[in-house]
Amino acid sequence: MEQILDIFLPVVIAIFIVLIFLCLIRALKGPEISDRVICVNMIGTLVIMIIAVLTVLLGEDWLADIAAVYAMISFLAVVVLTKIYIGVYREKHKEDENT
């Protein structure tokens, strides 16, 4: 039965890679900045799932640690991007009101 998994898990990884490329197309196409932030979030999730599948496929324990660290970093990236963009927008708005 393990031979089925050896075929099935690479297929899952291939599907996730195709989905990552679709997300990139969406990020290029997206008319607003929020679309791009959403795509960054989704690509992070897909990469975490690929690393988790590789953990079981290769039988390496430490790859799960990498997936956990990647989850934290992608969460941090979204937090920083949104905070910075809200700050920049508010500053611009203040300048518009003053002038």
């Binding site: 039965m1 393990e2 089925i4 998994l5 099935f8 899952v12 599907i15 996730f16 989905l19 679709l22 997300c23 969406r26 607003e32 900045i33 929020s34 679309d35 932030v37 959403i38 795509c39 979030n41 989704m42 999730t45 897909l46 975490i48 799932m49 988790a52 599948v53 953990t55 079981v56 324990d61 799960a64 640690d65 997936a67 956990a68 989850a71 934290m72 969460f75 979204v78 937090v79 949104t82 905070k83 963009y85 809200i86 927008y89 508010r90």
Partner: protein, 123 residues
């Protein structure tokens, strides 16, 4: 590894793959930004849960499955927070568009303003 475990794992992982495909297609199909964010958040939580559950079924009672469970718990806390931040950003940056989409709110506000004006005129 018993065949039942492999079959359960394959079913769980394919459900997760289905949810991630749906969430990526949803970002293409929906027309409004908040709807797109909703479908992306669904992919973040449900797809990750099912894929990692399938992988824990494969790896059994071991240290790897403990780490995968930690990832699930962390992501179920972090993903709603990040989607809340993104929606907060959308609401501050294009407030007009959000209000235009929420026609009910706008209609409600205009009726209230009309009522206030009518009351002023009566006074």
């Amino acid at each position: 590894m018993s065949p039942a475990r492999v079959i359960i794992a394959i079913i769980l992982i394919s459900v997760g793959v289905f949810f991630s495909i749906v969430s990526v297609l949803g970002t293409f199909r929906f027309k409004f930004v908040l709807n797109r964010m909703h479908s992306a958040a669904m992919g973040d939580t449900l797809a990750l849960l099912f894929v990692l559950l399938g992988l824990t079924v494969i790896s059994g009672l071991s240290f790897t499955s403990l780490k995968l469970a930690v990832i699930i718990i962390f992501f179920w806390i972090a993903s709603p927070v990040s989607s809340h931040l993104i929606s907060n950003m959308i609401a501050t940056v294009d407030r007009k568009k959000v209000l235009d989409m929420c026609e009910l709110i706008e209609a409600d506000n205009t009726t209230k303003e009309n009522k206030k004006e009518q009351e002023k005129e009566l006074k």
